[in-house]
Protein backbone atom coordinates (compact mmCIF):
# COMPACT_ATOMS: atom_id res chain seq x y z
CA UNK A 1 0.00 0.00 0.00
CA UNK A 2 1.35 3.38 -0.91
CA UNK A 3 0.17 6.90 -0.07
CA UNK A 4 0.28 9.46 -2.87
CA UNK A 5 0.03 13.16 -2.04
CA UNK A 6 -2.49 14.92 -4.26
CA UNK A 7 -3.56 18.28 -2.75
CA UNK A 8 -5.80 19.19 -5.64
CA UNK A 9 -8.75 21.52 -5.43
CA UNK A 10 -11.93 19.67 -6.37
CA UNK A 11 -13.60 22.76 -7.81
CA UNK A 12 -10.69 23.30 -10.18
CA UNK A 13 -12.69 21.84 -13.08
CA UNK A 14 -15.55 24.29 -12.55
CA UNK A 15 -13.18 27.20 -11.89
CA UNK A 16 -11.27 26.48 -15.08
CA UNK A 17 -14.46 26.48 -17.19
CA UNK A 18 -15.55 29.69 -15.42
CA UNK A 19 -12.22 31.29 -16.37
CA UNK A 20 -12.74 30.22 -20.00
CA UNK A 21 -16.25 31.69 -19.92
CA UNK A 22 -14.87 34.97 -18.66
CA UNK A 23 -12.19 35.07 -21.33
CA UNK A 24 -14.87 34.52 -23.98
CA UNK A 25 -16.96 37.33 -22.50
CA UNK A 26 -13.93 39.65 -22.39
CA UNK A 27 -12.98 38.91 -26.01
CA UNK A 28 -16.49 39.97 -27.00
CA UNK A 29 -16.69 43.02 -24.72
CA UNK A 30 -19.53 41.58 -22.61
CA UNK A 31 -19.92 42.55 -18.94
CA UNK A 32 -21.64 39.79 -16.95
CA UNK A 33 -23.25 39.74 -13.53
CA UNK A 34 -24.37 36.68 -11.53
CA UNK A 35 -27.60 37.48 -9.67
CA UNK A 36 -28.27 35.25 -6.67
CA UNK A 37 -31.02 35.24 -4.05
CA UNK A 38 -33.55 33.10 -2.25
CA UNK A 39 -36.65 32.20 -4.29
CA UNK A 40 -39.02 35.16 -4.54
CA UNK A 41 -36.54 37.85 -3.43
CA UNK A 42 -36.85 39.65 -6.75
CA UNK A 43 -34.19 38.42 -9.18
CA UNK A 44 -36.45 38.51 -12.22
CA UNK A 45 -38.05 41.76 -11.09
CA UNK A 46 -34.65 43.42 -10.76
CA UNK A 47 -33.69 42.16 -14.21
CA UNK A 48 -36.90 43.59 -15.69
CA UNK A 49 -36.35 46.96 -13.98
CA UNK A 50 -32.72 47.01 -15.17
CA UNK A 51 -33.72 46.27 -18.73
CA UNK A 52 -36.43 48.96 -18.68
CA UNK A 53 -33.88 51.53 -17.48
CA UNK A 54 -30.90 50.60 -19.62
CA UNK A 55 -32.16 49.06 -22.86
CA UNK A 56 -31.83 52.34 -24.71
CA UNK A 57 -28.18 52.61 -23.69
CA UNK A 58 -27.02 48.98 -23.76
CA UNK A 59 -27.60 45.77 -25.67
CA UNK A 60 -28.73 43.37 -22.95
CA UNK A 61 -29.00 39.58 -22.86
CA UNK A 62 -30.23 37.29 -20.10
CA UNK A 63 -29.48 33.75 -19.00
CA UNK A 64 -32.27 32.36 -16.82
CA UNK A 65 -31.56 29.49 -14.43
CA UNK A 66 -34.43 27.60 -12.82
CA UNK A 67 -35.06 24.06 -11.72
CA UNK A 68 -38.16 23.98 -13.88
CA UNK A 69 -40.46 26.15 -15.99
CA UNK A 70 -39.89 28.94 -18.47
CA UNK A 71 -41.96 31.46 -16.49
CA UNK A 72 -39.06 33.81 -15.88
CA UNK A 73 -37.59 33.69 -19.36
CA UNK A 74 -41.05 34.34 -20.85
CA UNK A 75 -41.37 37.53 -18.81
CA UNK A 76 -37.92 38.64 -19.86
CA UNK A 77 -38.39 37.67 -23.51
CA UNK A 78 -41.07 40.35 -23.80
CA UNK A 79 -38.34 42.91 -23.14
CA UNK A 80 -35.16 41.58 -24.77
CA UNK A 81 -34.52 39.28 -27.70
CA UNK A 82 -31.58 37.30 -26.42
CA UNK A 83 -32.67 35.05 -23.57
CA UNK A 84 -31.45 31.54 -22.81
CA UNK A 85 -33.36 29.43 -20.29
CA UNK A 86 -31.46 26.70 -18.45
CA UNK A 87 -33.69 24.21 -16.64
CA UNK A 88 -31.56 22.30 -14.18
CA UNK A 89 -34.19 19.72 -13.18
CA UNK A 90 -32.67 16.92 -15.19
CA UNK A 91 -29.08 17.89 -14.72
CA UNK A 92 -26.61 16.57 -12.19
CA UNK A 93 -26.59 19.93 -10.38
CA UNK A 94 -30.14 21.16 -9.99
CA UNK A 95 -29.73 23.60 -7.13
CA UNK A 96 -27.37 26.05 -8.80
CA UNK A 97 -25.98 27.07 -12.15
CA UNK A 98 -22.45 25.82 -12.75
CA UNK A 99 -19.83 27.02 -15.21
CA UNK A 100 -20.38 24.47 -17.93
CA UNK A 101 -24.13 25.20 -18.09
CA UNK A 102 -23.30 28.88 -18.59
CA UNK A 103 -20.65 27.93 -21.17
CA UNK A 104 -23.29 26.14 -23.24
CA UNK A 105 -25.67 29.07 -22.88
CA UNK A 106 -22.98 31.47 -24.09
CA UNK A 107 -22.62 29.45 -27.28
CA UNK A 108 -26.30 30.19 -28.00
CA UNK A 109 -25.92 33.97 -27.65
CA UNK A 110 -24.67 36.52 -30.20
CA UNK A 111 -21.89 37.69 -27.87
CA UNK A 112 -20.50 40.19 -30.33
CA UNK A 113 -23.82 42.07 -30.15
CA UNK A 114 -24.14 42.18 -26.37
CA UNK A 115 -22.90 44.75 -23.84
CA UNK A 116 -24.50 43.50 -20.62
CA UNK A 117 -25.29 39.90 -19.67
CA UNK A 118 -27.58 39.35 -16.70
CA UNK A 119 -27.39 35.81 -15.30
CA UNK A 120 -30.30 34.88 -13.05
CA UNK A 121 -29.13 32.00 -10.88
CA UNK A 122 -31.38 29.34 -9.35
CA UNK A 123 -33.18 30.61 -6.23
CA UNK A 124 -30.86 29.48 -3.42
CA UNK A 125 -28.61 31.18 -0.86
CA UNK A 126 -26.23 28.27 -0.34
CA UNK A 127 -25.09 26.34 -3.39
CA UNK A 128 -24.48 29.16 -5.91
CA UNK A 129 -21.77 30.65 -3.70
CA UNK A 130 -19.48 27.72 -4.46
CA UNK A 131 -19.66 27.81 -8.24
CA UNK A 132 -18.03 30.57 -10.26
CA UNK A 133 -19.69 31.00 -13.63
CA UNK A 134 -17.30 33.40 -15.34
CA UNK A 135 -19.14 36.51 -14.17
CA UNK A 136 -17.41 39.87 -13.56
CA UNK A 137 -19.50 40.77 -10.55
CA UNK A 138 -21.60 38.83 -8.03
CA UNK A 139 -24.83 40.38 -6.81
CA UNK A 140 -27.05 39.05 -4.02
CA UNK A 141 -30.62 40.28 -3.57
CA UNK A 142 -32.09 40.20 -0.08
CA UNK A 143 -35.70 41.31 0.39
CA UNK A 144 -37.37 42.86 3.42
CA UNK A 145 -39.92 40.10 4.06
CA UNK A 146 -37.07 37.55 4.35
CA UNK A 147 -35.82 39.23 7.51
CA UNK A 148 -32.62 41.07 8.39
CA UNK A 149 -30.75 38.02 9.72
CA UNK A 150 -29.72 36.64 6.34
CA UNK A 151 -26.03 37.66 6.54
CA UNK A 152 -25.76 35.77 9.84
CA UNK A 153 -27.50 32.69 8.45
CA UNK A 154 -25.83 32.62 5.05
CA UNK A 155 -22.52 34.40 5.56
CA UNK A 156 -20.57 32.82 2.72
CA UNK A 157 -22.73 34.10 -0.14
CA UNK A 158 -22.76 37.61 1.35
CA UNK A 159 -19.01 37.59 2.05
CA UNK A 160 -18.36 36.86 -1.63
CA UNK A 161 -20.80 39.38 -3.05
CA UNK A 162 -19.64 42.54 -4.82
CA UNK A 163 -23.05 44.13 -4.29
CA UNK A 164 -26.20 43.48 -2.29
CA UNK A 165 -29.56 44.80 -3.39
CA UNK A 166 -32.04 45.21 -0.56
CA UNK A 167 -35.37 44.80 -2.35
CA UNK A 168 -39.03 45.35 -1.48
CA UNK A 169 -38.37 48.60 0.35
CA UNK A 170 -42.10 49.20 -0.05
CA UNK A 171 -42.58 46.64 2.75
CA UNK A 172 -40.82 48.83 5.32
CA UNK A 173 -44.03 49.89 7.11
CA UNK A 174 -45.20 46.28 7.39
CA UNK A 175 -42.20 44.20 8.49
CA UNK A 176 -39.54 44.49 11.16
CA UNK A 177 -36.29 44.98 9.30
CA UNK A 178 -33.38 46.88 10.80
CA UNK A 179 -31.69 48.27 7.69
CA UNK A 180 -28.73 49.78 9.59
CA UNK A 181 -27.93 46.56 11.39
CA UNK A 182 -28.29 44.60 8.13
CA UNK A 183 -25.89 46.94 6.33
CA UNK A 184 -23.39 46.82 9.22
CA UNK A 185 -23.46 43.03 9.17
CA UNK A 186 -22.75 43.08 5.42
CA UNK A 187 -19.90 45.56 5.72
CA UNK A 188 -18.42 43.49 8.54
CA UNK A 189 -18.24 40.47 6.26
CA UNK A 190 -17.04 42.51 3.29
CA UNK A 191 -15.92 46.12 3.80
CA UNK A 192 -15.93 46.89 0.07
CA UNK A 193 -19.47 45.73 -0.57
CA UNK A 194 -21.84 48.04 -2.45
CA UNK A 195 -25.36 48.19 -1.05
CA UNK A 196 -28.47 49.38 -2.87
CA UNK A 197 -31.93 49.86 -1.39
CA UNK A 198 -34.62 49.41 -3.99
CA UNK A 199 -38.22 48.62 -4.61
CA UNK A 200 -38.70 46.83 -7.91
CA UNK A 201 -42.41 47.49 -7.48
CA UNK A 202 -42.20 51.28 -7.23
CA UNK A 203 -38.88 51.76 -9.03
CA UNK A 204 -37.25 53.44 -6.03
CA UNK A 205 -33.47 53.11 -5.98
CA UNK A 206 -33.22 51.54 -9.43
CA UNK A 207 -31.43 54.56 -10.86
CA UNK A 208 -28.53 54.26 -8.39
CA UNK A 209 -28.32 50.51 -9.03
CA UNK A 210 -28.15 51.07 -12.79
CA UNK A 211 -25.59 53.85 -12.36
CA UNK A 212 -23.34 51.38 -10.55
CA UNK A 213 -23.82 48.78 -13.27
CA UNK A 214 -22.86 51.29 -15.94
CA UNK A 215 -19.81 52.39 -13.96
CA UNK A 216 -18.65 48.81 -13.50
CA UNK A 217 -19.28 47.98 -17.14
CA UNK A 218 -17.11 50.92 -18.23
CA UNK A 219 -14.39 50.02 -15.72
CA UNK A 220 -14.39 46.46 -17.04
CA UNK A 221 -14.11 47.67 -20.63
CA UNK A 222 -11.19 49.87 -19.70
CA UNK A 223 -9.51 46.99 -17.88
CA UNK A 224 -9.93 44.72 -20.91
CA UNK A 225 -8.52 47.38 -23.22
CA UNK A 226 -5.46 48.11 -21.09
CA UNK A 227 -4.64 44.39 -21.06
CA UNK A 228 -4.44 44.26 -24.85
Amino acid sequence: MKRIEVVQNILEANDSIAAQNQQLLNRNGVFAINIMAAPGAGKTSLILQTIAKLKDKLRIAVIEGDVASTLDSEKVRNEVADVVQINTRNMSESCTLIANMVGHALSRLPLGDIDLLLIENVGNLICPSEFALGEHKRVVISSLPEGDDKPAKYPVIFADADAVVINKLDFLPYVEFDIDSFQNALKGLNPKIEIFQVSCKTGAGIEDWCAWLLKELEANKHKAQTKK
Binding site: I4, V6, V7, I98
Partner: protein, 113 residues
Amino acid sequence: MHEFGITESIISIVLGKAKEAQAHRISQINLVVGELSGFVSDCIQFYFDFLSKDDIAEGAVLNFELAPAQLRCQHCSTIFRPQDTSWACPECQSQDVEIAGGRELYVKSIEVE
Protein backbone atom coordinates in the same frame (compact mmCIF):
# COMPACT_ATOMS: atom_id res chain seq x y z
CA MET B 1 -27.48 17.66 -5.29
CA HIS B 2 -24.42 19.66 -6.23
CA GLU B 3 -22.21 16.94 -4.80
CA PHE B 4 -22.74 14.88 -7.97
CA GLY B 5 -20.46 17.04 -10.10
CA ILE B 6 -17.78 17.37 -7.49
CA THR B 7 -17.82 13.62 -6.87
CA GLU B 8 -17.19 13.16 -10.58
CA SER B 9 -14.27 15.58 -10.21
CA ILE B 10 -12.91 13.64 -7.22
CA ILE B 11 -13.01 10.40 -9.18
CA SER B 12 -11.34 12.02 -12.18
CA ILE B 13 -8.54 13.42 -9.98
CA VAL B 14 -7.87 10.14 -8.15
CA LEU B 15 -8.01 7.97 -11.27
CA GLY B 16 -5.49 10.32 -12.90
CA LYS B 17 -3.10 10.09 -9.95
CA ALA B 18 -3.50 6.32 -9.66
CA LYS B 19 -2.78 5.89 -13.36
CA GLU B 20 0.40 7.99 -13.01
CA ALA B 21 1.51 5.68 -10.21
CA GLN B 22 0.46 2.62 -12.22
CA ALA B 23 -1.68 1.46 -9.32
CA HIS B 24 -4.31 -1.23 -9.86
CA ARG B 25 -6.57 -0.33 -6.95
CA ILE B 26 -7.37 2.73 -4.87
CA SER B 27 -8.07 1.66 -1.30
CA GLN B 28 -8.57 5.03 0.38
CA ILE B 29 -9.21 8.64 -0.64
CA ASN B 30 -8.41 11.36 1.90
CA LEU B 31 -10.52 14.46 1.41
CA VAL B 32 -10.62 17.82 3.15
CA VAL B 33 -14.09 19.40 3.25
CA GLY B 34 -14.48 22.82 4.82
CA GLU B 35 -17.27 23.46 7.32
CA LEU B 36 -18.33 26.52 5.29
CA SER B 37 -17.96 24.89 1.90
CA GLY B 38 -21.62 23.94 1.59
CA PHE B 39 -20.80 20.34 0.61
CA VAL B 40 -22.17 17.39 2.56
CA SER B 41 -19.93 14.36 3.09
CA ASP B 42 -22.82 11.87 3.13
CA CYS B 43 -23.92 13.09 -0.28
CA ILE B 44 -20.39 12.75 -1.66
CA GLN B 45 -20.27 9.19 -0.30
CA PHE B 46 -23.65 8.41 -1.87
CA TYR B 47 -22.64 9.61 -5.32
CA PHE B 48 -19.19 8.06 -5.03
CA ASP B 49 -20.65 4.59 -4.41
CA PHE B 50 -22.70 4.99 -7.57
CA LEU B 51 -20.11 6.62 -9.81
CA SER B 52 -17.10 4.50 -8.96
CA LYS B 53 -18.65 1.18 -9.95
CA ASP B 54 -16.43 -0.82 -12.26
CA ASP B 55 -13.34 1.33 -11.95
CA ILE B 56 -10.26 0.99 -9.74
CA ALA B 57 -11.71 3.43 -7.21
CA GLU B 58 -14.66 1.14 -6.51
CA GLY B 59 -14.79 0.18 -2.87
CA ALA B 60 -12.28 2.86 -1.80
CA VAL B 61 -12.85 4.18 1.70
CA LEU B 62 -13.60 7.90 1.68
CA ASN B 63 -11.94 9.59 4.60
CA PHE B 64 -13.34 13.08 5.30
CA GLU B 65 -11.27 15.54 7.25
CA LEU B 66 -13.41 18.47 8.33
CA ALA B 67 -11.67 21.83 8.05
CA PRO B 68 -13.28 24.00 10.71
CA ALA B 69 -14.65 27.47 10.02
CA GLN B 70 -12.13 30.13 10.98
CA LEU B 71 -12.52 33.86 10.99
CA ARG B 72 -9.92 36.62 11.25
CA CYS B 73 -10.82 39.89 12.97
CA GLN B 74 -9.91 42.85 10.74
CA HIS B 75 -9.26 45.02 13.79
CA CYS B 76 -7.15 42.95 16.14
CA SER B 77 -6.21 40.03 13.84
CA THR B 78 -7.53 37.44 16.30
CA ILE B 79 -8.31 34.15 14.62
CA PHE B 80 -11.34 32.43 16.08
CA ARG B 81 -14.13 29.97 15.40
CA PRO B 82 -17.56 31.52 14.85
CA GLN B 83 -20.02 30.85 17.64
CA ASP B 84 -23.36 29.80 16.14
CA THR B 85 -24.59 32.77 14.10
CA SER B 86 -22.46 35.36 15.90
CA TRP B 87 -19.41 36.29 13.89
CA ALA B 88 -18.24 39.07 16.21
CA CYS B 89 -14.62 38.94 17.44
CA PRO B 90 -14.51 37.45 20.96
CA GLU B 91 -11.55 39.70 21.85
CA CYS B 92 -12.67 43.14 20.67
CA GLN B 93 -16.32 42.48 19.64
CA SER B 94 -15.72 43.94 16.18
CA GLN B 95 -18.05 42.71 13.46
CA ASP B 96 -15.43 43.31 10.77
CA VAL B 97 -14.25 39.80 10.03
CA GLU B 98 -13.02 37.80 7.08
CA ILE B 99 -13.19 34.08 6.44
CA ALA B 100 -9.73 32.62 7.08
CA GLY B 101 -10.61 28.94 6.84
CA GLY B 102 -13.43 26.48 6.33
CA ARG B 103 -14.00 26.83 2.59
CA GLU B 104 -11.53 24.14 1.58
CA LEU B 105 -12.52 21.34 -0.76
CA TYR B 106 -9.63 19.25 -1.95
CA VAL B 107 -8.28 15.74 -2.40
CA LYS B 108 -5.39 15.56 0.05
CA SER B 109 -3.99 12.12 -0.78
CA ILE B 110 -4.87 8.64 -1.91
CA GLU B 111 -3.76 5.19 -0.84
CA VAL B 112 -3.18 2.70 -3.62
CA GLU B 113 -2.05 -0.83 -4.27
